[in-house]
Symmetry: D2
Subunit: 470 residues, 4 copies
């Protein structure tokens, strides 16, 4: 399961609103529905037309904001951010949106994604005298905007966007304008909606449902939106656009009630599961899911195979940041947390265990063991994606090549290592078909880099080194 | 759904361990797995053979205990409690276990259930000079034990237990002994297990799985266990025992991975759903559950009816106690929290919505509306229990008779009030059969009071008045 | 200095108000001015004529109460308490006022003092079936009131007060009445004032100044006040009254701006210092005080002796409960906290160091060393009270006899142990004269027990044992 | 009293240590002793030779740091900061030390003082593309260092220091070096000490006493110290040095146990009081101080005049940041906080009230009224400094010219406005003589700008505008 390895960088959630009298509150509820994209930190910055005001902190949306904090955020425009834990980048300073003051005005920026040439740009800017106070890619864009020779802010921003490469979805707020930009590959999801007369932008469409907004359209790869009191203006900042949205958003990251490019995520996952049943053809007694990300695929698998779907694994909802981990000795005595196998369901049964992905394999191994300890006769692991053989440089942390179990081991070895009685990965073709992409070639519209090693952008020495040598 | 109406009293979770070197930690993990039974407050009290030490507070297990607090709880015996919000009884004072000191020794008590003659006993004791500092029924038992004329503690406890009536599962810890008692009807679940040489007791068997303990047997109605360094001793404190376990434990309250009287709760609920499909026979496109308590029944319904099971409703996991509720104005604009309908799944579909129960009907109405707003063509509400027509006096708060929608309205009226296209309740017979009780009569072993008005214990004027006039 | 040894029991501060529309707030400011009497915990309970409401917690007044908490405390009557750290009695349960509910009404109680027969009474009550949930003497009175056979509350209270012995100042609040009682020796200070039409009661008169109230008179030994909507009614509950107010209130405990029996505490202390100068006749260059309790006496000493008063010792005001104590190794390197000697003032000087008292001698020794390290040529310790040779049973913790340096050692030994060049204690006669008591005999109106061993009340085996054997 | 008007800028405390195995802890205790210089925020950054680590927050030293935080700060070098509340500059971002990362290494900076050309420099740097994330002058220096064309860090720092003007005391820490710089006027105090083999630097010498360090010497105006593993190296970065230390450090800001230029602050203040007695010649009964900053002067006044010194005003030590201010209505009823007059001392007396300074006059007026309400027959206000007629641009906030009562009003008017029976300011000559400066001319070594309007540095339009128009 992919969740096991998160922690490096910058799969986050962003939200923006322009023209709503309750801008801060709308952003609060919007961010709350994007909470699954990042639980480490969150912030909101509003503009009342004269100045920007903000509040942020490390923790959940519901923990960081209270009535008093929200009441202090006045104005009809706002941007917000929820942030994932990152290895090198904990700490209050890195919580977004970042706010930059200058004598000619202020600017707030929030970012979802990961640049592949950030380190290179930082080196050059530092040699020119710039000072960086955070580790985030967001600050890189701010410096590029500041240093652009252009006079009009929109042109400064375009000039800056042309220099960065990788996955990025930005929202930028000044006293007078909201700007929204998506990288030329459209690697991260980003959508536009309306609530009354106000515009809203969110990483996932589930945020629109949460606030009662209407979905308008997805932001296009390479698009720059400018929203101000004159309305919405759009243009492209890049001539080289080739859509390649992250496939993991379908498989693992997005919420089941979001739509990606018009397709409902739960339905996509259910399709993945159906297709998997078609490819796997396993004889078994029950289908069970690794919650939560395997649930939809398991339902699909059960439906297509006719094998009953059961709650064979239960997740404890109350594991929070302050939970005390069991000692090694207690763990050996069998103390569990977070996940437990339901003996009454799996005992004496041949179990199909559906998960979204295998990264290092350690979590899969632990769950297989748990099911067997609870009496499962056989455990057949079926994975609703192909083997992950290459690292991601665009923000979904699948760590270094060496840690990827599918990079170093054969199918048979992985099966043995995780202790499964059988192991099935979904084929790339099956996956693409399930999510509605007929064309399985290079221009399928999806980023398949972690499965195939074909990266949709250029890579840079620093980036490669970072991931391979760490 | 029953969750809408909790708030009066005392459906809680209890845990106890005797003879384990990490007693406090084992209790911590045990309580953590019982967290769904009460999120309002929690406490642990340990005995090191010489004295009792405790820690408690208002909040979740993971919030109240940290390393320092657990380290201070020394000894090989412990009892713990998680507590439900109660109307009249918030506040630190009411968080259990309660600890009573006297010059001859200390005693800690934790309780799950609700006494029907507590108020009467309190009146009498106060006239005799007793002072009560909490609103909890636990304190009543402590006073009765103290005032008993018997010399041996076990006899004092037996003498006290005979005087109380209603639903109760008690754990009692002194410096030298652990006692465990269950009411003569066995209204609340309570089980015995072993971990290594240690004995453990828990409200639900899922706690045994969480700590790696082995299930031994359920505590019997009217049983009093005494566990000390001489081992385990058991006897009955009551001659009039007639098993009547709360049926709502199967339908709504217990965790799906627990077993009740040998039956897995998920499986029981799936059976309820299957039976419901058999009784309902609705034509529809998708089956969806009101999460979380409707999930298992919905899976069963889908399996039996052949209609696909889908995630048509998504629950936001991050709604905590500090969440800011949307204002009326925002709510009217469509701001939601906690639950949202998945447009991509329900739009243009005839939807079967499976829920565990209907209490006041307001929640069902809200969800039906939500599904229709998301484009559902029809919404068929199917409920995996019979109509609730009578209040519960044993700890599951179904409030006063007047507030129960099924007390005041016909089936047709309820359907119209909640806006459903059809409404199906499970029959009492179907329900009993699904949970493995063949005998649908008075001695079926289940408490059916909220469905039938036949209460398994005597009732008292105070109790009745409290529920009817409030 | 006496501060070194606090920690056993119950020197606290109490406050009450009747008939003020802002009763909770008035109590908040009153308690705040009594904060020096106890920093461990605080609480306020109000009556709105119909029911009692309260808020309490462990910490300072300004920490425990916020706007929200105060807003919840409605009504025109209130009682409040600040509480000293106690060895056996930490924890939320012991924070006062205590609140007792019964079916015939509620009662809140707060207490300053220490009973000498509490343990005895507890034994008897427990044998009769009472349960105690706190360690505080306050609960003893509550039980006695409850068990009294009288019908009228005032008579029940009188009946209860007659049974307890020791130092006690009680305020008791019901829905309809405020009662105030002082022990027959008047060991603790307690005064009555008015603010507008409202009555106020406080442990010290400085609370009246803080809230703009007018001092009316001191509560008399053995007096019971009843204040309700009919006004103020007074009577005596004891026939055996012999005034013996704690002398340490003058020397150490009360705030300099309070008046005790009509005498300003700062002036009393200054007199003690003057008298000390008269008795000591030391040649020196500077007079310095151990802050804060030695300041007034040092000023008096300087004035009478003609030797300049200087700030030779400075107290760090920012040492709070969360301060991290220096490790042994750092302490040996000279890391200090709380108190530091001013080299610029004492270097090369013969220093007179004025302190209020010597208990175990360890603090005096540390300060003498500190002054010498800072370059003082000579350090002459002068103490504004006689040697403490006997333990206090009335609430000022001077610990067991064995720990009292003056119990075990000669004057010369103490001087040598603390490293002073000379050591002067004030004579008992000098002390009494300085605080305005001409008669130095048994009926001087002061409790001198800690200096003379003559206790103004009976003592009980339990009490004695507790202090001597612990 | 000056305390009434703090709030604009940057009178803070700094501390540094190099070569001590407990560097973070030593800094903790050092900062704790400098807490009076700033209670708003605090931080520590350490170097272990390889990298910098830090912890900071808004609050007191004892609140922000716990064992866990200190344990994370490894290394033998550290710098720390305590920060004053500032109008425009609240918030976590502005808490120092600031930490700047670059690909060639990290740098931490802490600052006490106020630059007069910061705004001008910021404008220029922003035009060149720099981004500022805080409002603090500290960041200005960081940018200047980064942009210097020099290769060696020391030279970069020197180059940067030459461009800034105003009051500044900086400590700068890299992985390998500690640098310390003081402005060419030496406006802020800064001293060098040793503890064992380690070097320490602190804003005030009281920090040396607190940690057991030995005072070596004051840092000289215009000096730059570089401390690294080769030892201590010193040079001057400016050719134009003219000592002008802030006189308010003697009168109000520093702790009484610190030494400034070899003179003990308490002794200096006592001299101010003696000189005031000589200049004032008032007939009165008691001398009392406005605590705490007036205490030493009052003692000196009493000693020189022969009028007894008394505690006529008491300060409540427990007023913290969370204290609830009394409402207007309660304040009119006489509810006080923080300061109260001692009726027993001042009633019926002619009182001399000694304070350090008069800024807006509102506080003095309040205290005079308080003393009269407590029964003082006459109140004679004597001030241990001359009238403040000009704003300070160097970090001690005396606000805009218009708010200074002595800028707009005659001596007689001020006396009437504050309700005093007489009002005496100390003469400038008397003040200089009292603090040991014989030469009362322009080169007296003191900054007298707030009394005379002669500023020791150039001023800049922005600065002037800021203070005059605000």
């Amino acid at each position: 399961m992919l969740a096991e390895l998160r922690g490096l960088n910058e799969e986050c959630g962003i939200f923006a609103v322009w023209g709503h009298e309750d801008a801060a509150r709308i952003t609060y509820y919007g961010l709350h529905s994007l909470q699954h994209r990042g639980q480490e930190g969150t912030g909101i910055i509003t503009s009342d037309g004269e100045k920007l005001a903000g509040h942020k902190g490390e923790g959940l949306v519901a923990e960081i904001f209270n009535e008093q904090a929200l009441s202090g955020l006045k104005g009809e425009a706002a941007i917000g951010h929820v942030r994932y834990a990152t290895q090198g980048g904990g700490g209050y300073e890195n919580v977004q949106p970042l706010l930059f003051h200058s004598q000619t005005g202020s600017m707030a920026l929030a970012h979802n994604g990961n640049l592949v040439n950030a380190k290179l740009i930082k080196s050059i800017l530092e040699q020119q005298g710039s000072i960086f106070q955070t580790n985030s890619d967001t600050e890189v864009l701010a410096h590029l905007i500041r240093r652009s020779g252009e006079w009009i802010l929109k042109n400064r921003v375009k000039h800056a966007l042309k220099q960065i490469e990788g996955a990025f979805a930005y929202v930028l707020l000044t006293e007078k304008e909201l700007m929204v930009a998506l990288d030329p590959q459209g690697l991260r999801p980003l959508s536009l909606g309306r609530i009354g007369d106000a515009f809203v932008v969110a990483s996932e469409t589930c945020a629109f449902d949460a606030i009662g907004a209407k979905f308008i359209r997805d932001i296009l790869p390479g698009e720059l939106l400018v929203i101000n009191d004159n309305g919405l203006h759009t243009e492209f900042f890049s001539e080289h656009r080739n859509e390649a949205i992250c496939t993991m958003e379908y498989i693992y990251f997005s919420r089941p009630d979001s739509n990606l490019h018009g397709m409902n995520v739960h339905s996509a996952r259910k399709n993945l599961g159906k297709r998997l049943a078609f490819e796997a053809k396993i004889e078994a007694d029950v289908v069970t899911a690794v919650p939560d990300s395997g649930v939809s695929a398991a339902i699909g698998y059960a439906e297509a195979s006719g094998i009953p779907y059961e709650l064979g694994l239960i997740k404890n909802r109350y594991v929070g940041r302050t939970f005390i981990q069991p000692s090694q000795s207690l763990r050996e005595q069998g103390v569990k947390m977070k996940l437990s196998a339901v003996r009454g369901v799996v005992e004496g049964k041949r179990v199909i265990m559906v998960d979204d992905s295998v990264v290092r394999g350690t979590t899969s191994k632990r769950i297989v063991r748990m099911l067997k300890d609870a009496g499962a006769l056989e455990v057949h692991v079926v994975i609703s994606s192909p083997p992950i053989t290459h690292p991601c440089f665009y923000g979904i942390d699948t760590s270094t090549k060496e840690e990827l179990i599918a990079h170093n081991h054969t199918h048979e070895e992985i099966k043995r290592l995780i202790g499964a009685d059988s192991l099935t990965f979904l084929s790339t073709e099956g996956m693409l078909e399930a999510i509605g992409r007929k064309n399985a070639g290079k221009n399928c519209g999806q980023c398949l880099a972690c499965f195939t090693g074909e990266y949709p952008t250029e890579l840079y020495p620093d980036t490669l080194q970072y991931y391979y040598q760490k």
